[in-house]
C-alpha cells in the first residue's frame, strides 16, 4: 500500500474544505430549510476517458460540487476544465429520461415512452431472433466508457466476439500497433510517458494540454519546470507548442519524412544508445540500409522544415538520451500509413534507449484485479469480423460497418451502441447510415440524446457517473491503481446504470448464469476480495495505489521483456515483411489539397471531449461553437473578416448544413484550416448544441484505411470556404 500519512491528511483537509459549514444565516437565506450535513462519495470522472479521481459532495440527496481526489494517480487532486464541469452533465435537462421505442424510421424517429420491462423484453427477443437466424456473431457492440465493460461481458456471454470501440480504429489504434510491433507493448492509456523526469521531449502532432489529460499535463509541466527542452512538430501552434523551444510548423502529411531523417542522422552519426541497442534490439544494420536515402535535405524539401533544424534537433535528442520522450499523440489516424509513422517514433525511441528509462517510457507496474470468481466459461465464438487486418489489436469498427453493408465476411445484423456517437466518430457518414439502415436491431445506450440516438430502434437511458456504481477501474502506471465509483445520489428520472441494465437483460436472454450477483456491491466486493483489496477502504478512498510491484526503469535486476516474435525490440520487423508490409517505415507522399482548397486539420478544445460534452451547460457557456482557424494572409486573400460565418465545401462537393465562425490567426500554416471537432451536432433534442458550428464528420467523406490494423486515416480531406448567407 502506498498511501502515506500525508495523503490521508490531504484527503481529510479536502473534505473539510468542501464541507465548509454555514457559519451563520443571512437574512435572504432564512427561508431555506436546514441542510443535512453533506456527504462525500469518491468517484472517477467520465467527462473524458482519463478517469481522474474525484470526490462528489452531496447535500439533501443531490450532488452539489465535485473536486479532485488527491489519492488519484490520474488526477492527483486536480480536475481539468471539463471534469470540474461534471454537474453540467448530471443536471442537463436534455438528458434521456426513460426508455423509448422508435415507432418512426431510423434517422427520422418518432419516440414512444416505454417501460424498462418492455424495452428489455423487446431487445432480448430481437437478440435471440438474430442468434437463431444468423448466429450470435451477427451482433456487434460499439462501446466507449466505463459502463461498457458490462456490455462486453454480456456480448461475450451471448457468443459474439465483435466488441469494438472507435477509440481503436478511429483514434489511437495505429499508435498502439506501431509500438506493439516494435516493443511488443503499447504506450498504454494513460501513456507511460515519464515526462516529469524527461530532459528532452518531442511531441509529434500531439495537442497535449488541449486534450487536458490531467496527470500527463501535470507531468509535462513539471518536466518543463525542471528544465526539459521541448520540440513540437505541428502545422498549428498548439497550446503546448507555445511552450516549446522549437516549434516546427511541418507541412501536413509529411511528419514521417522528418522522423525518417532523424533516424538516418542518428544511425549515420552513430548517436544511438549502442549498448542498449546491442543488448535489446535487432535490425540496426537493416535499419541503416533502409533509411539511407532519407537525408535532412530531402526531408526539408518535403516537410518545409529547414534541414539544419532537423539536424540540430536530431543531435539535441541524442545529447539528452536516454532521458527523452518522443510522443506521437493519441489521435493518430491521419493518412492511412499511421502505424508505420508510429513505428518510426517507436524506432526513434528505441535508438535513444528511452524505453524503460528515466524520463522516457517507464515500465508499468504489475497488478491485477481478477474477474468475478466462478463465472461460467464464455461460449466459443467464431472469428471476429476484423480478421482481415493482421495487426489489429482490437476489433475494427469500420470492418463491422462494412460487414453490415456487404454481409462479408459474414452478416452483421444487430448493433448495440453504448456511449459512442457513431454518426460523428466514424468517417464517411453515408456508409454509417447505409449500415444502420440494413440492420435488424439498433440499440442505443446513452446519457444524452446524441446524434446516433436518432438512428436507434430503442433507446436506454443510462444514468451519469455521479449516480452509479461501476466496474472497478484499474491502471498500470508507476503504481498499480485501483479505483472505484460510488454514486453521490440516486439516478435522476428513470435512468439506470449499465450493471443493472445488463443484468436485467441477461435474465430475459437466459444468460443470468453470467450475472450471478444480486447487486453491484456484491459484485464489487467479490472482485476486491479476489484481488485481496479491502472493499470498504476502496469505497471510502475511491483510489488505491499499489507500488510493491512497480519497477519503472531498466536495471541489472529489472530486465525488460519484449513481447515480439524475436523477444527483442524490432527495429526491422520480420513479421511485417512476412505479411507483405514494409519492415522499416517508408515515406509515401500523400495527396495535396487541390487549388483553392485547404487541408482540414482538427483537434480538441480543452473544454470539450468530442461531441460528448457539447451540450454540457457549463462548458457550452464558455465554448458554444467551434471556429474555423485560418492564417491571416489567407483570410486577407479571401477577404474574410473575423467573426464572420461561412460554410465549407469539401473535395467531394459536400457543403455543410451549418455555418462556422472565422478565427483569423497567425498560429496556423497557410495550407490548412483548423477547427475543434465534435461540434455541428445534428440532434434537435440537444437544445444547446444542436446545429452550433460545423462538425468535422460532415466533411470527412474520404478516408484511407491502414492495411496493418484497419485504422481510418481522416486527415486527407480538403475544404473550400464559401461565403454565403
Amino acid at each position: 500500500m502506498s498511501i502515506s500519512r500525508r495523503d490521508f491528511l490531504k484527503i481529510a483537509s479536502a473534505a473539510a474544505a468542501v464541507s465548509a459549514a454555514p457559519v451563520f444565516k443571512s437574512v435572504s437565506a432564512m427561508s431555506t430549510k436546514p441542510s443535512a450535513p453533506p456527504t462525500f462519495s469518491p468517484n472517477y470522472c467520465e467527462l473524458c476517458f482519463w478517469n481522474c479521481g474525484l470526490i462528489a459532495k452531496s447535500v439533501n440527496g443531490k450532488v452539489v460540487k465535485i473536486d479532485g481526489n488527491p489519492l488519484s494517480y490520474r488526477g492527483k487532486g486536480k480536475l481539468c476544465g471539463r471534469g470540474n464541469a461534471g454537474l453540467g452533465l448530471l443536471y442537463d435537462p436534455d438528458r434521456l429520461k426513460h426508455p423509448m421505442l422508435n415507432i418512426g424510421k431510423r434517422g427520422d424517429p418518432k419516440w414512444k415512452k416505454i417501460s424498462w420491462d418492455e424495452a428489455l423484453s423487446f431487445i432480448a427477443n430481437k437478440l435471440n431472433d438474430i442468434k437463431q437466424k444468423y448466429g450470435p456473431e451477427a451482433v456487434a457492440l460499439f462501446s466507449h466508457g466505463t459502463g461498457g465493460s458490462f456490455w462486453k461481458h454480456l456480448l461475450k456471454a451471448y457468443g459474439s466476439p465483435n466488441s469494438a470501440a472507435p477509440s481503436f480504429a478511429q483514434c489511437r489504434g495505429p499508435r498502439d500497433v506501431g509500438f506493439y510491433l516494435t516493443f511488443g507493448a503499447a504506450p498504454g492509456s494513460p501513456e507511460h510517458y515519464d515526462f516529469a523526469k524527461s530532459k528532452f521531449i518531442v511531441l509529434i502532432g500531439s495537442h497535449l494540454g488541449e486534450n487536458a489529460h490531467n496527470s500527463q499535463v501535470q507531468d509535462l509541466i513539471n518536466g518543463l519546470d525542471n528544465g526539459a527542452k521541448l520540440v513540437v512538430l505541428d502545422p498549428r501552434l498548439s497550446n503546448v507548442a507555445a511552450k516549446a523551444n522549437w516549434w516546427l510548423p511541418v507541412k501536413p502529411a509529411t511528419d514521417l519524412a522528418v522522423l525518417l531523417a532523424w533516424i538516418k542522422i542518428i544511425v549515420d552519426e552513430e548517436l544511438y544508445d549502442k549498448e542498449y541497442i546491442s543488448k535489446y534490439a535487432i535490425g540496426i544494420k537493416e535499419l541503416k540500409e533502409e533509411v539511407k536515402d532519407y537525408t535532412p535535405e530531402w526531408a526539408s524539401k518535403i516537410s518545409e522544415i529547414p534541414a539544419a533544424t532537423i539536424v540540430e534537433i536530431a543531435r539535441e535528442m541524442a545529447k539528452h538520451k536516454p532521458n527523452l520522450c518522443i510522443s506521437g499523440g493519441r489521435f493518430t489516424v491521419w493518412y492511412g500509413d499511421d502505424s508505420q509513422r508510429s513505428r518510426a517514433i517507436a524506432i526513434l525511441t528505441a535508438l535513444m534507449g528511452s524505453w524503460g528509462r528515466e524520463g522516457g517510457y517507464y515500465l508499468p507496474a504489475a497488478g491485477k484485479v481478477p474477474k468475478y470468481p466462478g463465472l461460467p466459461e464464455y461460449p466459443d465464438t467464431g472469428d471476429s469480423i476484423s480478421g482481415d487486418y493482421p495487426f489489429a489489436l482490437l476489433q475494427v469498427t469500420n470492418a463491422i460497418r462494412d460487414a453490415a453493408i456487404t454481409d462479408k465476411p459474414y452478416p452483421c445484423k444487430g448493433w448495440i451502441i453504448y456511449g459512442s456517437n457513431l454518426i460523428k466518430t466514424m468517417p464517411n457518414k453515408t456508409e454509417t447510415i447505409n449500415a444502420l439502415r440494413k440492420l435488424d436491431l439498433v440499440v442505443a445506450v446513452d446519457v444524452l440524446p446524441t446524434d446516433i440516438v436518432d438512428w436507434a430502434d430503442i433507446v436506454l437511458p443510462e444514468c451519469t457517473y455521479l449516480e452509479r456504481y461501476d466496474d472497478i477501474g484499474t491502471g498500470k502506471f508507476q503504481t498499480f491503481e485501483v479505483t472505484m465509483r460510488v454514486p453521490g445520489m440516486k439516478p435522476l428520472f428513470e435512468s439506470k446504470p449499465s450493471w443493472w441494465i445488463t443484468k436485467e437483460l441477461s435474465k430475459k436472454m437466459g444468460l443470468e448464469a453470467y450475472f450471478p450477483w444480486n447487486d453491484i456491491e456484491e459484485y464489487l466486493k467479490a472482485r476486491c476480495e479476489a484481488a485481496g483489496i479491502s472493499f470498504d477502504e476502496l469505497k471510502q478512498k475511491g483510489a488505491l495505489q499499489f507500488n510493491d510491484k512497480a519497477n519503472p526503469y531498466i536495471a541489472a535486476d529489472n530486465q525488460p521483456e519484449f513481447n515480439t516474435p524475436s523477444e527483442k525490440i524490432e527495429l526491422y520487423s520480420k513479421q511485417l515483411k512476412e505479411h507483405g508490409f514494409d519492415p522499416v517505415p517508408k515515406y509515401t507522399a500523400h495527396e495535396e489539397p487541390p487549388a483553392d482548397h485547404y487541408r482540414l486539420v482538427f483537434g480538441r478544445s480543452p473544454l470539450h471531449t468530442f461531441s460528448r460534452t457539447i451540450n454540457n451547460f457549463m462548458l457550452h457557456d464558455l465554448i458554444p461553437e467551434n471556429e474555423l482557424w485560418i492564417n491571416t494572409k489567407q483570410a486577407a486573400k479571401l477577404g474574410l473578416k473575423k467573426g464572420e460565418y461561412v460554410r465549407l465545401v469539401n473535395q467531394d462537393g459536400i457543403k455543410t448544413d451549418t455555418k462556422i465562425k472565422i478565427k483569423i490567426t497567425e498560429r496556423l500554416r497557410e495550407d490548412c484550416v483548423y477547427m475543434y471537432h465534435g461540434f455541428g451536432v445534428n440532434s434537435a433534442n440537444l437544445s444547446r448544441a444542436n446545429k452550433r458550428g460545423i462538425g468535422t464528420d460532415e466533411l470527412i467523406t474520404k478516408y484511407t484505411v491502414d492495411p496493418l490494423m484497419g485504422g481510418t486515416g481522416i486527415r486527407g480531406n480538403f475544404v473550400k470556404i464559401v461565403k454565403e448567407a
Binding site: S28, V64, C80, N84, Y91, A212, Q218, I221, L622
Partner: protein, 236 residues
Amino acid sequence: MVKNEELIDIMTEDLKRALKKPADKRVWAMAIDIKKCIGCHACTTACMSENLTPPHIQYRPVREEEIGTFPNITVKFLPRPCMQCENPPCVTVCPVKATYKREDGITVIDYNKCIGCRYCIVACPYGARSSDSGNYYTGKFKKETYEVEASEEYGKPWARKNHFSSPIGNARKCHFCIHRIEKGTLPRCVTTCLSNATYFGDLSDPDSQIAKAVAKVNTFKYKELLGTKPRVIYIT
C-alpha cells in the same frame, strides 16, 4: 528549488502559517506564472463549480493572446481573477459601501447591502465584476436544486431562490475563495491548476512560496499604469 509538484502542499503550509497572524498583518496575493499556464481553463470551471456562478459569469476566465506573426509566434494565456487592487476603483464608487476592502486586502461584496446599481462593474478596469441577472443553466422555471442550493461564498449560505434572494441582482466577483482560505485550504483555482501555475499566499511573509516566486523573476501587473496596484502578479 521547490519542485512544481510539491507547491500545493507547501503553499497550504504557508497559508496555515499566515492564518495565525492577525488579519491586518496578512497580505493575500496571487501570482500566476504564465510560462506554466497551458490554457486548459480548469481554473475557470473549477471556480464556476466552487462558487455556483450562473450563466455568463466567470470569476476567473482565461484570455488568450497571440504575439508575433507566423512562424515567429507564440500565444499567452492570461487567467484573470479579481486583482484585489490596493487601490480598488470599484470600492470608491459604490454608493452604499456594499463593496469594501477587508483588512487582509480582499475586496468583498456585501450581498445584503448591494443595490445592484452596477457602478462597480462600470468602474472595474479588468472586467472582473459581473452582474447576477438571475439566470439559471437549467432553465427559468425548472431549476435543478443544485442551482438554488446555497453557495458558500463569504462563508455564508447564499441560496439563489428568486430575484429577491441575493446574490441575484447583485454584483459578483472573485474573492480569493475566502470561504476556503479561512479554513486553511487554498483557493479552488490554485488547487485544480493542472500546471500549478497559480501561487497563493501571504505576500508579507518572506518565507512564503508566493513571496519567493515573485522575488526572483520578471513580473508584471495587469494595467499597472492605472495605479490600481493589483495584488495579482503575473510571472513571465
